[in-house]
Point group: C2
Chain length 630, copies 2
């Protein structure tokens, strides 16, 4: 097991710092703001109700039915942040927040301010829409994070009391049903890991196994209840992945965040149970995502209709949904898959989602966010045409549905746990980061300027054993490792001992990617990438990008200071950034007044591309990932 | 004025025959079918109500609120058909249908079976949704068509009585409002032409002038009424073009069929009134359509959301709406513009819409129809992805909203009237057809195998005068005319006299078109056309079209018998068809399991393209107009 990781600079620590220093304090401010969020106020009022100081009144609840989860995600992120960098003031504020949550827990363990505030009679009657088990899951995750990161069991007690209630209701008393929005399942698996108690695995297994066995469950539930949150269509069974028992699900369908949380829990349970049929389902679902339903940026859920997966290869760039949370969830899923099976494909996709869509979801200064991550915007009509009404050209400070900002914060503040894994005596280097990792048997220091640099140096500071270094697929034909190794499924396994210094060199040459021809949107276009980073063109570096085409030919990497690119001061911390310079052509119609033409001039020009994750950090303008080839 | 036209074969007469021999009788059958349509039954029942044989009951009405218009469009088409080819049996059936309509007219001139059948109290209270004036308009058009084509004034009397009622209600009594769906305006302009009575122009002018002067009119109307048809959003003022007074409208917006019918009426009124500000608005709206909002196929209204225009350059091919009726309406608009100003641009667009989208709306055998005319379909996911739920891969026999089939029938059966025009002593040849046209001063015979041939021969059989031959823009740099001419705005004006034989030769070389780079969908793609015909690739002629790319280079025309292409027997009548053969490349990913890749093989292959209007006449498969260039 990983005993700890100490950061030592580099690209990814920049984002850990951003989460710690900017995102977490800023987000706390919003959560405490009664107008912008009201999430903390809901707990304040619920606690007052439980203390008898307030009459329950459903009008007292503010925000989305799952508003509580914003607070839980914030606590989780703050726990990781405190483990990364102790901060007495933040610690105190976390303790206050936990106390507030604990005070909002009902005597029997129930905890959900929406219901405590005047909706008590509706508990567990609308599992489809009401996000009760979802909120419980996020509370449990926060509790596990606090306990695992800081040894603080204050919230864990609340979580166990809540989980005991859920066990009683759904196992002992046999209440039917499962959550419309998966989350409780993976949370219970985490709680089992934190506490060692198998009843939580049993309850997680129950929720996973029962899903889809009666695909009419929510239709019947709807008939039984006399209230609804949004009037969701319970007959759209794929939306919340209850169309089939989970082991029979082969295509990633429905709401993409729901899908990722469910699949993550399935992978965790498959690993814990050694359940091969469940593992097989997870692998099939991964293939569905990675081989047929994922943007090159690791964005998933291509349609705004239901924030959902569409059909295979239906991946339009300009009308993309690609919610930030869905890519956060994809990182979770890939990480859980890696625990199940060591296959570099899972790490490749994890890295793709993390380095592109998750990071593009956050502004360079950490203060604003994308919910939707398009692969093309036009300042003339994005957000105006019927297909792109959901697409924004600039990041927003907050959202009515504020799932993404704290989700990104909790992932980034804990990103080292996705980088390293110890399994059966082997230390796996999944993601390339700078710092020192400790296991029972070894301490390994890694130094890298990845992804803008091409090498990673591993020094074995203590002990000996097996080190497995990931070989990213983008570099599979041009790399070197300075020690003997055995390559298997994208990992190079080496025997190492104290004092060894191992150098990994990867290919960071810019390349042009094509998409499967069935991706209609990308026909005739290419996308540039360097290592794990997808690149894009923006107005800020180029004139009128709508008419820009790339020419087949060599691409050049060029080092730049973030400030010289006009990026905000906060990005200076990245140190250096690589742009890509390419030979391009500007298409100049012979008659500019006409929509269609047979003759045009081609004007050679230089094209500058920047990493996709940095887009929309300068003046608002057009952007494109897939660029036509002339 | 054109005194008559006698067809003499050729491409376009094939479609006149198809309308006459197949579409009109088939459609009559459907209209008389109580299950498939019920449109005729509505009249039967309304007449019974008026004769006191039936109690009014709104449950007796079948179909859409505008179901009556299907019958009127059929009468109109049948009138043209009878003028083309007398047919006593059809004549009798038309007379019966007119008698039924007349019997459904209320004593005061009111005529709308939806209202007569139990909704009398709602008359004129929901002009936004209820299509009363729209249905009246189609009835008036049918009446004018019967009178102009056959001298039959039986329906004209009904129409005049109805129009007199409308005049009384909206002018004399001063009722506020205008039709949510334009149509009455252009119909009144036709009625004025048929009868010479200026009150109809006055009423048309009133409806046109009042539109948009109070953009809240329908919001207020909605507040006043206690019923609705569909609960339309009256605040979406662009949808029915009442956001601005018509003279201030510059962008083609909203429901595309509504837009076309309104603009057509505006152009007709501008011509009749010599109204320059109205003419200017028409020209601006035409530019908006033709230069920024029209598919290369002449399809308009790119979004399924409201069957509407989207933003400039938002012209995705795979999620296109491009309703057949909208292109029928675009033909009307262009024809009306030509009467206002002789500019070949209007005829170019008219021809583009007619030869591509209107004809693609009809199967080769005339028995099934497209409502939606996409520029790309994939048999794997068209009609399944959220963006293409409205797109069909095969034509349908009929529709719940059956506006398109009879609209195509009335246009095709009268298509000669769009081909020729006489204005101020000049005979204009707008479209190239084979036959003999007569005016007061001349008879001119034209012979052509256009659009598959490249020449038109005009013989002056009688008289002398000025002939203006259109020079299509696709041929503006490679053509010849065998007589002296003066070229102005796309027309070649020549002095001709009896016995002259003039030969026009056009360029029918296949060309590759590009779209304005702002059309994101078409980036990196080209579309092939030959003369007015846009071409496409289909599965029937090529293997796996998703991976096919064109190479820059020469395109070859190749003559084929329709039967040798596997087209149904009905297409044999077209005589010969040109396919285009091109050099292409098949993109073969190096690893077929992966969605994105940097290496691939290119396999040279032949690509066969067929005219777009013929697509979907063989086994259902994929189709593409815009083809990636490799």
């Amino acid at each position: 097991m990983i005993k700890g990781f100490r950061w030592a600079g580099g690209f990814m620590e920049h984002f850990v710092r951003l989460a710690t220093q900017v995102m977490i304090p800023c987000q706390e401010e919003v959560l405490r703001d009664p107008v912008k969020s009201g999430a903390v106020d809901n707990f304040v009022r619920a606690a007052q109700v439980l203390r008898g100081e307030r009459t329950p009144d459903s009008g007292d609840f503010t925000g989305m039915v799952f508003q509580d989860s914003d607070v839980y995600k914030w606590i989780e992120a703050a726990a990781y942040s405190l483990a990364y960098r102790p901060d007495d003031l933040l610690r105190k504020r976390v303790e206050d927040m936990v106390a507030l949550v604990a005070a909002s827990q009902e005597r029997d363990g129930y905890l959900d301010t929406y219901f405590t505030l005047g909706n008590s009679d509706k508990k567990f009657t609308n599992l489809m829409e009401a996000h009760e088990l979802y909120c419980a899951g996020h509370m449990i995750e926060a509790a596990s994070a606090l306990y695992e990161s800081l040894g603080d069991d204050s919230l864990l007690k609340v979580a166990e009391k809540n989980a005991a209630l859920l066990y009683k209701v759904f196992i002992t008393e046999g209440r039917e049903g499962f959550s419309g929005h998966p989350e409780i399942e993976l949370a219970l698996m985490r709680l089992r890991k934190s506490t060692g108690k198998e009843i939580y695995r049993e309850l997680a297994r129950h929720f996973i196994d029962v899903r889809g066995t009666d695909s009419d469950f929510f239709v019947k539930e709807e008939a039984r209840r006399d209230w609804s949150v949004w009037g969701m269509d319970t007959k759209d069974k794929m939306y919340a992945q209850y169309h089939l028992p989970v082991r029979e699900q082969k295509d990633a369908v429905g709401h993409s965040v729901r899908a990722m949380y469910l699949y993550t829990a399935m992978a965790m349970l498959a690993e814990a149970d050694g359940d091969e049929s469940l593992a097989e389902a997870c692998f099939n679902l991964f293939d569905s995502v990675a081989d047929r339903r994922m943007y090159i940026t690791g964005g998933i859920g291509s349609t705004s209709k239901g924030e959902a997966f569409s059909a295979d290869y239906d991946l339009p760039g300009d009308t993309a949904y690609a919610e930030t949370c869905a890519s956060v969830g994809l990182v979770f899923f890939c990480s859980a898959l890696l625990k199940l099976k060591k296959d570099g494909r899972f790490a490749d996709v994890m890295e793709r989602a993390l380095y592109n869509t998750v990071l593009s979801g956050i502004s360079a200064d950490g203060r604003s966010f994308f919910y939707v991550n398009p692969l093309e915007v036009s300042k003339e009509f994005t957000g105006k045409t019927p297909g792109s009404m959901h697409v924004k050209i600039t990041r927003q400070e907050w959202f009515g549905c504020a799932c993404c900002p704290p989700n990104a914060a909790r992932l980034l503040s804990s990103v080292s746990s996705y980088a390293w894994e110890e399994d059966e005596g082997v230390l796996y280097s999944h993601l390339f980061v700078s710092g020192t990792v400790k296991t029972d048997s070894m301490s390994v220091n890694s130094v890298t300027d990845y992804p803008f640099g091409d090498s990673v140096t591993y020094r074995i500071e203590r002990g000996s054993g097996k080190l497995a270094v990931r070989l990213p697929s983008f570099s599979s034909e041009d790399f070197s490792l300075s020690c003997p190794y055995e390559l298997k499924d994208g990992y190079m396994y080496c025997e190492v001992k104290e004092g060894d210094e191992i150098l990994l060199r990867l290919s960071m040459e810019p390349v042009m990617n094509r998409a499967d021809p069935r991706v209609s949107y990308a026909a005739g276009r290419v996308s540039v990438s360097v290592g794990p980073l997808v690149y894009c063109i923006e107005d800020a570096d180029n004139t009128d990008i709508s008419a820009l085409c790339l020419k087949p030919g060599k691409l050049h990497r060029s080092s730049a200071e973030p400030s010289s690119l006009g990026l905000p001061p906060a990005a200076a911390d990245l140190g250096k950034v690589f742009t890509v310079e390419a030979d391009g052509m500007r298409l100049i119609p012979s008659d500019t007044d006409r929509l269609y033409f047979t003759r045009y001039d081609e004007e050679p020009c230089k094209v500058t591309l920047i990493p996709y994750f940095l887009w929309a950090n300068r003046s608002p303008g057009s952007m494109k990932v897939w660029i036509p080839l002339l």
